[in-house]
Amino acid sequence: MIGAGSALLALALLGGLLVLVALAWERALTDAGADGELTIRIDALLPQTQCGRCGHPGCLPYARAIAAGEPFNRCPPGGASTIAALAELLGAEPRPLDPAHGQELPRRVAFIREADCIGCTKCLPACPVDAILGATRQLHTVIAELCTGCDLCVEPCPVDCIELIAVSPTPPSSAAERRPVAT
């Protein structure tokens, strides 16, 4: 009896979960459904840093704006390669990054100086991808693997303890440049 009861309970839970998943999926579909094919393809080329430096609150809104005719050279994290990809998609000439929106930099991640953090939690909601871990009056830290380097956590910090540090790129191939061919 107990077995049957718990099985029923598990089934009910599973059913509930499925309904939730289905709801979330439907929502995602309708969210995406509002955007045209072009917007989705533009969004796929944007770096998803969600930094807002283009003047829009996230990459998808900027993709919508580009689809509506806004210049496509306003994404500093994407830089020249993203501009080139967008130009190809849109059948337009690539142009240089608009300096009014920032400069192209190597990938960076936020870093919290632990000695200075006061545990105010103000940086937590600022992170667009929930990559900061922390609680009131507890030390906060950035999950480097998840950080997009968007910069948005720096401003709300009252003690200025967040800095962005460059991630060392994949090993330099300087040695490969000098490869001779012995025969």
Binding site: D31, P47, T148, S173, A175, A176, E177, P180, A182, T183
Partner: protein, 549 residues
């Protein structure tokens, strides 16, 4: 005992092999410092402590790192670990005694089960010594292996480490092959592939095999027939796709030096502490094979052979075709180091690269049937999509196309960086997809939290400041009416309590003390006060409610 299939494409570069196998394998004096790449491991012993030869000094998710000789652990430092990469390394200062922690003892192989044997192979730190560096225990753990391929090809120019090993220790190699087959536990067919340009090694191997049930296939020397997948195709006819492992197709391929290490580990109890390295090249005064403790800096190896800086145009880590220039001579010899070349200026590519003339020779020699000239064109245009469509992933980097290119274009180098760029692009796309999902989840979470806050506020303050006073008054009236019920209940409870106490007093017998009687009377007095107060509150509540109407 003859070649069954012919290699597609391939080249026959000058082998330059004779000089380094003329003499026996030499021993190297102990270097003053050993540099042992840590990999994905953590240090088991504190810096400063003494470790014996063969003692594990680091272990974890990677292969264990052993002390190649006895000495003191000095520190962990970031050092060059091969021609292109840096990584954390344990620095071990030899004490010169070369003393074992415990004298090595053979393992009781017959009494150990498969799991124990695999653990012993892992604990001995054995990885592919042909250059791949793949953990051998992982290969041997594969189920249902039908063919064990032993790679004795050594097709790379200059390299003779396996040749020398077979000449001097063919019996140990054959014993190692038996052990590998035993651990696989599926009675696989065993095939050895060897090129026809090393007759002494072949003779030694034949002699050691005796009547063993092992097939020996002699293949014509042609580069790069010794590449794992190409050799498997030559010996078994099975072509393994680039994105799959041979074990998934029931095949394990091991290098002769690897099975030799297996025999040393299980048959003698010695973990993998040294390997044979060919030192050769036009600028090398005494080309030879050396038995080198793992972690020995390349500089020490060069010093032993009389390295002359001015004669040497380039130091290569690896063979003549796939070797890579070494910028830092403090790079250590690792499990994958089979050759160090000192090249003279004459051995270097003489001319600077010119433009592609579309001769197509590169396509003729490519062992995996790619079109290097097309790849070259797309690589120049940095068209990663086209490179992927032309199967850039399949490129082995063998350098056969470089070898025949009349325009001296460094094709393989170009393909390697294009492969890295393609991998980087794929990784970036994956990361962007993940970030998009996380951003969406973040926004949904914020929206949900805001909605919940709104709901809570609604419950706490049903009447918002904007609503009219009449509605407010009516709500209060309804609240007062609702609150009469608890007041009535309180009054009834107080009356009940008073009645019970009065009954107790009446039933109190004559024998009860005055103190008991007084205490009870005091409680009755208090209960009467409470009862009166409850009645008053009930009455006033009714009056309030009546007044508002």
């Amino acid at each position: 005992m003859s070649a069954r299939r012919r290699l597609r494409g391939g080249v026959q570069p000058p082998s330059h092999k004779a000089a380094s196998v003329a003499g026996p394998i030499r021993d190297l004096p102990l270097p003053s410092l050993l540099i042992l790449p840590l990999g994905d491991n953590h240090l088991l012993r504190a810096p400063g402590s003494w470790v014996g030869k063969g003692e594990p000094i680091a272990d974890g998710s990677g292969l264990p790192v052993h002390a190649s000789t006895s000495g003191f652990i000095r520190d962990i430092e970031t050092r060059a670990i091969d021609a292109d990469r840096h990584g954390p390394c344990v620095l071990l200062e030899p004490d010169g005694d070369d003393r074992w922690r415990e004298p090595p003892r053979p393992l009781p192989i017959a009494t150990l089960d498969r799991a124990q044997l695999l653990e012993a192979v892992r604990a001995a730190g054995i990885a592919g010594l042909g250059g791949g560096g793949f953990p051998t225990a992982t290969k041997l753990a594969a189920p249902a292996i039908h063919t064990l391929v032993i790679n004795a090809m050594e097709c790379e120019a200059y390299v003779t480490a396996d040749d020398a090993l077979l000449r001097e220790a063919a019996a140990e190699v054959v014993a190692g092959i038996g052990l590998a087959a035993h651990i696989l536990a599926s009675a696989p067919r065993v095939v050895i592939g060897i090129e026809d340009d090393k007759p002494e090694a072949l003779a030694a191997l034949r002699n050691a095999l005796g009547g063993d049930d092992i097939e020996l296939t002699v293949l014509p020397a042609r580069y790069p027939a010794g590449a794992e997948r190409l050799l498997i195709a030559l010996l078994t006819g099975l072509e393994i796709p680039r994105d799959e492992l041979p074990v998934a197709h029931g095949i394990v391929c091991l290098n002769v030096a690897t099975v030799h290490a297996l025999q040393r580990a299980l048959g003698h109890g010695e973990p993998l502490l040294e390997r044979i390295v060919t030192l050769s090249g036009g600028a090398c005064r005494e080309p030879a094979n050396y038995r080198v403790p793992l972690g020995t800096p390349v500089a020490d190896l060069l010093a032993a052979s009389g390295y002359e800086r001015e004669r040497c145009a380039s130091v290569l880590l690896g063979g003549g075709m796939m070797g890579r220039p070494l910028a830092d001579l403090q790079t250590p010899v690792t499990r994958s180091t089979h050759c160090v070349l000192l090249l003279s200026a004459e051995e270097m590519r003489p001319t600077p690269p010119r433009t592609c003339i579309r001769c197509g020779w590169c396509a003729d020699v490519c062992p995996v049937a790619l079109l290097p000239q097309q790849l070259h064109r797309h690589a120049l245009a940095e068209d990663l999509g086209a490179l992927a469509r032309h199967h850039l992933d399949q490129c082995l980097g063998c350098g056969a196309c470089d070898h025949v290119c009349p325009s001296a274009i460094p094709l393989t180098r170009q393909f390697a960086s294009a492969q890295a760029a393609l991998a980087q692009l794929r990784a970036d796309r994956q990361r962007a997809d993940r970030d998009r999902d996380r951003f969406l989840a973040h926004q949904q979470r914020l929206a949900r939290a805001a909605a919940e806050r709104e709901t809570r506020r609604g419950e706490a303050h049903p009447a918002t400041p904007g609503s009219d006073l009449a509605a407010l008054a009516m709500a209060r009236a309804a609240g007062a009416g609702a609150s009469r019920e608890p007041l009535e209940r309180t009054a009834a409870a107080a009356a009940d309590r008073l009645r019970r106490l009065e009954n107790q007093l009446a039933e109190l017998d004559a024998g009860a003390s005055a103190a008991q009687r007084n205490a009870l009377q005091a409680r009755i007095a208090q209960a009467r006060i409470d009862h009166d107060a409850a009645l008053r509150r009930l009455a006033s509540g009714s009056t309030d409610a009546g007044a508002t109407h």
